[in-house]
Subunit: 673 residues, 2 copies
Amino acid sequence: MPALRKKPESRPGTRRSGSRRGTSSEGPVRPPSVVVLESPEPVLEGGRFPIKRLVGDHVEVSVDAIRPGSEPLTASICWMPPGSEETSEALLTAEGNDHYTGTFLVDRPGLWRYGFCAWTDRYGGWIDSLLKWSKAGEDITPDLPAGREILEACRARATDQEYGTLQAAIAAFDSDPREDLLTRLQSPSVREAARRLQPRADLVGPEPWYTAWVDRERAGFAAWYEAFPRSLGPSDRAPASFRQAEERLPEISELGFDVLYLPPIHPIGTTARRGRGNSDAPGPGDPGSPWAVGSAAGGHEAIDPGLGTLEDFQHFRQRAAELGLEIALDLAFQCSPDHPWVHEHPEWFSHRADGSIRYAENPPKRYKDIYPLDFESPDREGLWRALIDLVALWAERGVRIFRVDNPHTKPFDFWERLIREVHERFPDTIFLSEAFTRPKIMYRLARLGFSESYTYFTWRNSSSELREYFTELSSAPLREYFRPMLFVNTPDILSPVLQRLGRPAFEVRAVLAATLSPLWGVYSGYEFLEREGVEGSEEYRDSEKYRVVHRDPSAPGNLRPLLARLNRIRHEEPALRPGSELGFFPVDNAGLLGYYRKPRTPGRPLLVIANVLPERTLESLVSVPLEPLGLAEDSEFRVRDLLTDRIYTWKGRRNYVKLDPGVQVAHILRVEP
Amino acid sequence: MPALRKKPESRPGTRRSGSRRGTSSEGPVRPPSVVVLESPEPVLEGGRFPIKRLVGDHVEVSVDAIRPGSEPLTASICWMPPGSEETSEALLTAEGNDHYTGTFLVDRPGLWRYGFCAWTDRYGGWIDSLLKWSKAGEDITPDLPAGREILEACRARATDQEYGTLQAAIAAFDSDPREDLLTRLQSPSVREAARRLQPRADLVGPEPWYTAWVDRERAGFAAWYEAFPRSLGPSDRAPASFRQAEERLPEISELGFDVLYLPPIHPIGTTARRGRGNSDAPGPGDPGSPWAVGSAAGGHEAIDPGLGTLEDFQHFRQRAAELGLEIALDLAFQCSPDHPWVHEHPEWFSHRADGSIRYAENPPKRYKDIYPLDFESPDREGLWRALIDLVALWAERGVRIFRVDNPHTKPFDFWERLIREVHERFPDTIFLSEAFTRPKIMYRLARLGFSESYTYFTWRNSSSELREYFTELSSAPLREYFRPMLFVNTPDILSPVLQRLGRPAFEVRAVLAATLSPLWGVYSGYEFLEREGVEGSEEYRDSEKYRVVHRDPSAPGNLRPLLARLNRIRHEEPALRPGSELGFFPVDNAGLLGYYRKPRTPGRPLLVIANVLPERTLESLVSVPLEPLGLAEDSEFRVRDLLTDRIYTWKGRRNYVKLDPGVQVAHILRVEP
């Protein structure tokens, strides 16, 4: 349905009832409409938070509209693009049972507003009654003027095409035989024109306005690669500079990643610096953890002198962009004891009774190289302002993706304000929430504005765990605002299944991450099967956080070809794009997981079958979900394995698979036409 | 947990965030708390409508409370009785995953308010950290003063018993060995006292206040009997008066009903009066439909002179009350052409182009004996006021139950205001909504205030229809506000299954209605198996709406014994009281329906198994729901059929039933201890 671009009518005092009203002692207000709107969708917490969408999405909306009595209603969706007060409107489709549905297109990033309207379809009610009276043999002559009057009001507001339709209908009152008149008056074109153009009796809406935050596509579809720039040098003898690291960008680009995420690039403190292997006694060459931000060389606004200058960083960023890699920076809002703020703004930190600043602690551990900021500081406003300005500064410098470190330890309101203010100036900014905490806190951070979120993926390994978790994430209301980012590893998480099972586990976890969500990520080293952990933990032994690592892209048997293929498949297959349907199907052997992805746009569906804890060869019959794939019972169809380019001919629902960890841990099968 | 009776603390500017806030240009407001409350339950549409409860209910509430970081929270429920600003409070129980639950008792009718609070449990966080540091061998001496300070603040606000506990803990700082001190500080009694009494850091709540409308028990538990008083005379030769009808009250009382609902008792118009059999040409003795309200003798405030005077009515009502029958009146807000308002307030009616008043019509039918009121009249306020005053008048006269005719044809706001205003003066008033219309309209009427509602019960006959419908009605959110009233028949609905199948259908539909909901009703004549319908419709042939009917309570084979027994069972069995659990269980034969009722209060559960379309004998194995009934697998147990007093011994899950329509159409089995 084409959109009408107009200001919707409204009348004073007309609004959806908000609460029990007292008897009207407030003077002559127009009474509330008899029409009521209920259950608007999608709406989060009554409109408290925006839903999230991507540029190019058609937002699917629905509402229930009711009124007493038997007259029909017309309902519409109204919307306003970011920063605009101009309203567009489209009529909704009546689906029966008082339910109305429709869509509107969001074609640029920013905060869109939308609201629902409904009004009494006086013309529809009139013509329906007229036809019944006429059929019962009653004289309808006295009833005709009322309908004619409505059509004349419509004609006065009609566009060229509708004008002709309405003009002909109105003329028919004077000229046509009664039967021809009735045929014309009940025609779909006249009814439709009247629905749109008649005076809107009993109008409700479009207030309250709900909001949709619309991101550019990369917020919902991207493959991330995390690398310490100081490790991107020619050797592990010294930290690399940005100029050196630049040379290694093509290697990363070849893997097909879209985003290169760098841990903090700022000066690193020396006081209480952690040494290699997280030791208390750093060696003279130990570079320290980049998350201990700040030194005499500067704070969060500065570049680690070892990496180079701001110009070097910008050169690196430009070169990455040319190779299709957008840079993401880390927002770690904490300070080393050498951060300039420690002296400039002592009030931004918590103090102990003896006046010393509290370092980070998580009993029984103390992190003496890090001072947390006190977000409830007496100079709360100054601190919050400074942090928001920092992000704006980096955005001005061209960085529009931020991975946020531990947002769940700072106030929700801080993030809501920071993201809102940055988005007002830079609506293309993307924020990834690194909150590994309890689910309700993670979800709150997503609702209040984070574009995407780390998940429990690394701790979901069995087929039932994966099925349950991704069913939750892909259902309402989460699917309206929580975009799961699946990192297969991070500098802090080397999951036990990788440590224990090695290569087949690395392979299957990459396939799962790349196909279960449109957002996935790899921390460098994964492709080289690095899996030496601290005994009984999920930490890396000799973590890169405290040293420089050199990796050889030509190392034999590495997973670079698999990562490159997965990223190519993701770019080629609409079924792996945002908004495509995810469903699980039965596999007889519980060691295997089966799911399908079905594109929302035209395109072929995929079936993924994975040996999720690949300790041994598993074989099984699987039950292909014929209905969602549009396949007929017992039909023969071909599937192409996008990982091997092998083609299989399958038939009907039940088909056979065998996955040998030594050969292939998963199928990504495209259903061929 | 005992309730604290107190005003909860609050601090200026502390409230749950309501919408995206601008940067603070409004002066020095206290910043919002870091604590956030989510998903309060039960709440309807964000608090737009009250939930419904009955006097004596323990309202079960829950909420999620989160805050950034790792400090624990304490949450509470606060509530205010009707008309009071005094707040009571009880701590909630932490159930894990940031979820908190609790209850509060509502012990009188009216509008109760309740809200949630949460605050940081500083003491809990402090003692937990202290124990970890101590275990790790760190010196905790510098950390001790902070906890002592909290306990001293608690002591200052403690009651006698808590005072002692706190005093001992504080003294221990000075006197006890370190290990004894820690044992004392982490004891449940000290922790609990601190949770309640410590200064409430980061407090949120209790705003916003949600509301619960609490009714007297009869609004949720009652058996209704509908009878035309004019038919309660010694013969059908003339309409009975109230004085005559009084003589028949014991007959109705014997059946165990709680409410006697009378169709309109007002003067009946003579203009266009409908004759016997709904004829256009009334005979001289035809009494007319009571729903054509108003004549020269008066309108809705008056009593039909044929029935007697107001004093006669009051005498009738008193006599009924003595017999345990409360009178319900009919609110039919429409007028006969002879109603005094037609002349006094012509503006309260719709007019045609020729100036004549529009009568009720539903194309292709016209109801010339009835003028609908125009609720959007230019004198809307005058009309609404007059109608509300009418209800208040009858409430003043002692009537506190109203069955409302066709509420779905009048504005929602009208009913919301009427019910609110009447409830403010007469909180024990009960309104039954007679809205046979689309579901969302019926549910809206229930949400806006109707105490109970007619349902689709008469059109739900098969076991799958009944299971589906009553599962919907007993699930959230409907169970929070929609109280289903199951009438087995009405003057307008003689369902096809009754017409076709006769006695066994009458029996089984009574058993279903009496046991599927705590509210059920019978329109007189049902017990005499009256089932002559208009061919192909669900109307009674020769309807009582247009004539006087005489019924003989001693007629052979009538269902009076069954109705009396059903009502006795309902009064004796806690499982049939409001709030008891309804669940369906599998029965192999789809012609039989099986469900259980499990009391919320102590008492024995019931199993009902019914031959729902009793055309022939059906036998089946049923699968007894052992888990909800608390029965062990393979255990033997006795069930007593409350309809026949027969006792069966059953074993385990699978048991056999046989229901022969000629003998018994249903079991109501009480599981014996």
